[in-house]
Amino acid sequence: MLSDSNIEGLSRGKIPGNIPAIKRDLSERRWRNAWWDRHGWNLPNAAPPMLPSENTVIKKVGVHEVYDVRRWMWKANDGIRETTWPGVYNMSRLPGRYDYFVLPDWDCYSMSGQSIEFILPDEPWNHVEIWGKAWGQLTYIKEHTYDHTFGVRSKEQVKSYHRLKVPGQGGILRFDNALIEEPIGELGVYHVHIGSAPDGSVSEVFSLGHVNGNLQKESIASVAAFIDGRYPADELTKIIGLHSIDETRIEVIPTISAPLPFIHIIIPYTSYPEHGLDGVEIEIPALTVDPTHGEVFPPEYTGERSHMGNA
């Protein structure tokens, strides 16, 4: 935001001078809170649960059968945050959406947007991550057992994490929206368990190194350019997969002095026509970060959780 005096100058055709700096320093409460809001590290929902072991497998459970009443719905799990379940209502009650332009700016009728059912494939799962402003509860439905509400999203949470104590197998995951128009941008279901990558697969090994814009391969340059257009200057740190044997590691020259802890990883994938990409094995070194809450980073919340109704 420019200052009042910057804008007063602009209105007289003057180039703004002495504009307010926007150095986002996460030690400052304003920037830290905004960063935590965006990435789900704020309270009051539980922080992301810790991994069960040093060797952990995270299997994404593909969900292809999703229904709101009887409408097949893909927008909450299509990998695109901007497409949501539900969409925009005709005569929306959400703040600021009342509009004098009568446009077909809606895709919801009165019955939809209240509850959505994700019909899970017959495989184990124990972890759900949700990105969006919808608040309400997550329930696991399976025949021959009682419905089990295992997750509660609060109004304050944009990203939330929900872990089952005992893995489920298939069944239906239902989200009930407390306020019917609040949307889910993305919902992912995973099976997080102790294990390691299977032996015997065709694989490629990369070391991750920093790059400073000297991106030779066109495909990588194109992805990097997309990142440059999508994110502001302090969220542009990129690391790239390098074949450690035949490529020289390029040391990073930061474009700005204090980038945010947000890193884009670009892997130059080689196409093997007879093989598909089934998985990625990542070895992460210990991070030199200060724990922010207790002994963990990102914070693990140990206080009282806020529930619907008394939030």
Binding site: M1, L2, D4, N6, I7, E8, G9, L10, S11, R12, G13, I15, P16, I19, I22, R30, W31, N33, A34, R38, N42, K75, I80, R81, E82, T83, T84, W85, P86, G87, V88, S92, L94, P95, G96, R97, Y100, F101, L103, P104, D105, W106, D107, G132, K133, E156, V158, E181, E182, P183, G185, S222, V223, A225, F226, D228, G229, R230, Y231, P232
Partner: protein, 249 residues
Amino acid sequence: MMPRICAFWKVVKITFSIVISLLYCEPCYGQLSPEPPAGLLAGQVTRSSVTPEPGLLFYLSGENKFTADYAAGGQDKPNFLTGLNIIPDGAIGSAFEADDNQLMSYWAPGNIFAQRGTLSFFWRSRYPVGPTPLPVFRVAFADHTSWDMVWLRIDYNGSGFDAFVTDVGLTRTRVSHYMDKFPTPEEWTHIAFSWDETEGVRLYINGKMAEKQSVTGKVYDTGLDQFGPHSRIISPYQVQSLYSFMRGG
């Protein structure tokens, strides 16, 4: 008879700001560079450049015709342009004169960001406004569930100006400003709109703050596609539908 307003507008400055889809307005011809060059992704920067002014992302004066004086994302040419003329007597230097069916938009990536920013321009209506609202400026989402795909809009609201940005929960941080006497077609109005997901929005008219709204816990960060004056953004569904029913031979 519904009045249609054409306007002159001048000097778009977008500073400090974060950021894909389709902008469109009737009639739907006039697309200059509909797709990025082969091999590039839609919505990417073509070259990053160093700003001549601190924080400046995009500057369009009209002195270089329709090419932006500066575009941080590198894409400085309009991707849609129909019904625009350049006139010498703007508020300061040249200005753009827009027909009722004008179409003018620029790529957003690198040139505007959703997290925070300021949009500043001079505007005047070409003939008197009536009671019917009309959009003055719009910025489109890269992808969205809504059919209008609007992320930011500044409107003539019937007696003043409305302005909003849309957050990730579909709600809009919106301000409405009503004026006892709306500027005549001869008077230029300077409009500036600032947004910041950690602060909220502010609307300035002729250099003075007219309205503000504060927010807490908002996330504006999202992919953006294109921006420009007036007109209407339509969704990919509507593009397909319109194309099917407007095609001649």
